[in-house]
């Protein structure tokens, strides 16, 4: 170990620095979040094609495209830009509004929409990381809403206690529904994808059936809806009566922190992830896989059940057949977009909540149907699931040492879980 001369040492340092800088740049360019942003951009571009293709002005100007191409281009631009601006104003902030409360109302709407998406998405993400593809959030939300709603309207209890009990009941409802799939998976090896799909459909008919019974039906009403939730069992409003935002949003934040602690800091979460990464290795290491399957599904379902509570005790304040809307299915895309990480899922839930809130504003202002939001959502997830495609489109460099894609099952679930 001779002492090196000064000059070469500095050179060596530079040399070391250079690759590190390059490496950092490379890391940034190839990192997951850049692919996420690129995928979102790509999805918006593809959807823009659909928006333009269905626009009346674009049709008329396309008739004389070669005579006056500028007209056509400006019509395309107007239709797409108008739709996306309306989407943004309906989702984040509306600068054209007269008062401050009206200007920030879109943001609170976004937060309200995102609550069930985040909670159910977190539930699914726990399942994904444990290698269980729980598609049943829809059914679990419905069961959560049934249980929480029943406690909410059928009992008269003191304020705080009533709400707490209703929330716990909702979590229990979701957990039971998912637990069926977990139990069958553990006992008989029944594929959880099929069982949860079937349980979704059963839940839809179950809530429709329950709402025909006297125990659930609102007296004196012909509509299939329950009595209103007691005031003691509703989530308190966060910003007063002028806004729909309720304390369910705080619950979503708490749940995000809880899932982070569970999956990244607790022994149980470690076992969940171990089973997800390699069930055989986990079994060899002494983990009781069947017990983990059941526990994962119970956790997953309880979180989805909380999403049901947010709907029935917060946003809707009544149990109807459509209480779950399509949140359970949207939550799948939320969890996938969030790469099954707690913070990622939280942000993805906010994004999809924004798309939903903004979608309604867009539909009202520019006449672009809200269905385009479904297209954006599904495309984002498709593109994110296939990073090589996004990299090829944007000519991003691929990661230095790309992992050889292994022929083991579900490479992307793993990538989503990574």
């Amino acid at each position: 170990m001779n002492a090196a001369p000064d000059v070469p040492a500095a050179d060596a340092k530079d040399e070391r620095l250079e690759p590190r800088l390059q490496g950092a740049l490379r890391e940034m360019l190839t990192s997951n979040w850049l692919v996420t942003v690129a995928a979102l951009l790509l999805a918006l571009v593809v959807s823009a094609v659909l928006i333009a293709a269905a626009d009346e002005d674009v049709h008329t100007t396309a008739g004389y495209l070669f005579a006056r191409p500028a007209d056509f281009l400006s019509a395309v631009w107007d239709s797409v830009w108008g739709a996306y601006v309306a989407l943004f104003q309906g989702a984040i902030v509306d600068p054209t509004a007269a008062t401050f409360t009206k200007a920030i109302r879109p943001l609170t709407e976004t937060m309200t929409w995102s609550v069930p998406l985040i909670l159910a998405g977190l539930g699914l993400s726990v399942g994904f990381r444990a290698g269980l593809f729980n598609i049943g959030a829809q059914g679990q939300i419905i069961l959560g809403a049934i249980f929480g709603g029943y406690i909410g309207f059928a009992f008269g209890l003191p304020p705080v206690l009533h709400l707490l009990l209703a929330i716990i009941a909702a979590a229990l409802g979701g957990a039971i529904w998912a637990g069926i799939a977990g139990f069958l998976k553990a006992r008989t090896g029944a594929n959880e994808v099929i069982v949860t799909i079937m349980l979704n459909n059963i839940a839809v008919y179950l809530v429709a059936y329950l709402l025909t019974l006297t125990a659930f039906k609102r007296p004196g009403s012909n509509n299939p809806q329950s009595p209103a939730i007691e005031g003691t069992a509703v989530y308190p409003q966060l910003l007063g009566d002028g806004f729909r935002l309720h304390a369910g949003f705080l619950l979503a934040i708490l749940a995000t922190v809880f899932v982070w602690w569970l999956m990244d800091r607790s022994t149980l979460g470690f076992q969940f992830r171990a089973v997800g990464a390699n069930p055989s290795a986990a079994r060899t290491a002494g983990i009781n896989i069947n017990r983990i399957y059941l526990l994962v599904m119970l956790t997953s379902g309880a979180l989805a059940g909380l999403a049901g509570s947010a709907q029935v005790l917060g946003t809707e304040k009544v149990l109807t057949a459509g209480v779950a809307a399509s949140f359970g299915f949207d939550a799948i895309t939320v969890a996938l977009l969030g790469r099954s990480k707690p913070l990622g899922t939280f942000l993805a839930g906010l994004l999809f909540g924004a798309l939903r809130a903004g979608g309604f504003a867009m539909q009202a202002r520019t006449g672009t149907p809200i269905d385009i939001v479904l297209v954006v959502q599904s495309l984002v997830v498709l593109f994110i699931a296939a990073p090589p495609l996004v990299r090829a489109v944007f000519r991003l460099p691929s990661p230095g040492r790309r992992k050889q894609v292994s022929p083991t099952p579900a490479p992307v679930t793993k990538e989503a879980a990574a």
């Binding site: 029944a190 099929i194 459909n201």
Partner: protein, 431 residues
């Protein structure tokens, strides 16, 4: 009984040391318990003295059979006792380690369903139209049959196809638009498979080329197709409904002579071209899948792709082709919703039928004839629920609608025998 008294010539190669697996009485117990419950609910509890009416013929039949009435209570008791006896028989089969044929569960199910019918329609003035019930069952099963056949084709080759729902919806959409534009229902029928194959093309592009998890792609594609078709419906089809979305109805083509057979004739041979195509597709696939070189390769790729590759079968090419073919089959089934009914396309009009088709495929154990039987069962439950709605029985329609899903859960949980998926389904093949 001892484990040594196995039929001697049948298995001389079996190692003597290997004991026989323990006898499982799960199935027989389930049979007997359900039959007993049915006996109590349909036979013993209801009051006696009521009658149940059935009609068999439709007004246009060549042979006319009059309405007949049976005493409800005693008929239900007899039917449930038959089911109970079959349960006992299955226990006897299990004890002697003999396999009961398909006839046993089939007869058992028919007996219990008839008992249910007799009980549900007891004392109603309007009779239960048996022929109409079966006709409806076959009709409602059409999209399920096509969908589950698509599933069989894809999954046997190793690609999980959750996107059946999307393929049906895309088929329904394109069939409606093309049939309206050309004013020809048959051209709509030709266009539907193209839409289904397009969805499949996306599925293989992501599942094979980019090695994305197939379940994820399938689920997301369903959302995508719902989004695109609903968007186009709201923006284009709704405003131009008369020029784009009023498809003509596929005509009913009664087959001469055959359609005059009592009961079976109107059910099987007084249908549309789509149903006849369905017969052909089921039979052809059943034969080709298990009796042809193509079928052998298809199954080899789904069971053990590496072995297939070693003997020179192009794994991914085989998978891509058959997934596209499967998508086309499902797309054809989508034509049921619009052209076969003469209905305009509507948002999300497939209403989860793709998922039921998936269930039918599993219940039918990944074979075309099994898929057909399972789809018919689901179609029957649907048809029954509609018939009950018309007659006005006490059974809530929601509970009837739940039945197919419950049956599927029982099936995948192994209560209705062992189901085994193709070994390599859902696993991308990378050399």
């Amino acid at each position: 009984m001892s484990a040594v008294t196995a039929p001697a010539p049948a298995a001389p190669a079996r190692p003597a040391a290997q004991p026989l697996p323990p006898i499982s009485y799960k199935g027989p117990i389930a049979y007997v318990v359900i039959a007993l419950l049915a006996l109590i609910a349909f036979g013993i509890v209801p009051a006696s003295g009521k009658k149940t009416g059935f009609t068999v013929s439709t007004a246009t039949d060549f042979f006319q059979i009059d309405r007949f009435d049976v005493p409800s209570k005693s008929t239900a008791i007899v039917l449930c006792l038959i089911a109970l006896a079959l349960g006992g028989l299955s226990a006897w089969y299990a004890r002697n380690r003999r396999k009961a044929g398909v006839w046993l569960p089939a007869v058992y199910a028919v007996a219990l369903v008839l008992a249910l019918l007799v009980w549900a329609v007891a004392g109603k003035s309007s009779p239960l139209p048996l022929t109409g019930l079966l006709q409806g069952a076959l009709f409602l099963a059409v999209p399920l049959v096509f969908g589950s056949l698509a599933g069989v084709l894809c999954e046997r080759s190793g690609i999980i196809n959750i996107a059946i729902e999307g393929q049906l919806l895309a088929g329904a959409f394109l069939a409606a638009v093309v049939a309206t534009l050309t004013q020809s229902a048959y051209l709509g029928l030709l266009a539907a498979p193209i839409a289904g194959a397009l969805v499949s093309a996306l599925l293989v592009a992501f599942a094979v080329k980019y090695v994305v998890d197939q379940i994820i792609v399938g689920v997301v594609l369903n959302v995508l197709v719902v989004g695109v078709t609903s968007y186009l419906f709201s923006t284009v089809l709704k405003v131009n409904a008369s020029t784009l979305n009023t498809p003509p109805r596929l005509p009913t083509l009664p087959i001469p002579v055959l359609s005059e057979i009592p009961v079976l004739g109107p059910v099987l041979f007084r249908q549309t071209a789509l149903v006849y195509i369905m017969y052909v597709v089921v039979i052809v696939l059943q034969i080709l899948l298990f009796r042809s070189k193509w079928g052998l390769r298809l199954r080899a790729v789904g069971e053990h792709p590496k072995a297939a590759d070693t003997v020179g079968i192009k794994v991914n090419r085989t998978r891509i082709r058959n997934t596209l073919l499967g998508g086309a089959v499902a797309g054809l089934g989508g034509a049921f919703f619009t052209v076969a009914n003469g209905l305009a396309f509507n948002k999300e009009m497939t209403a989860g039928k793709g998922y039921i088709a998936l269930a039918a495929m599993i219940l039918g154990r990944w074979s075309p004839k099994g898929a057909l039987a399972a789809a018919l069962l689901f179609g029957f439950a649907d048809s029954l629920q509609q018939a009950f709605g018309i007659i006005g029985t006490s059974i809530p329609s929601q509970l009837m609608l739940m039945l197919p899903y419950l049956v599927t859960i029982f099936a995948v949980a192994g209560l209705v025998g062992k189901v085994r998926a193709p070994a390599s389904e859902g696993i991308a093949y990378v050399k």
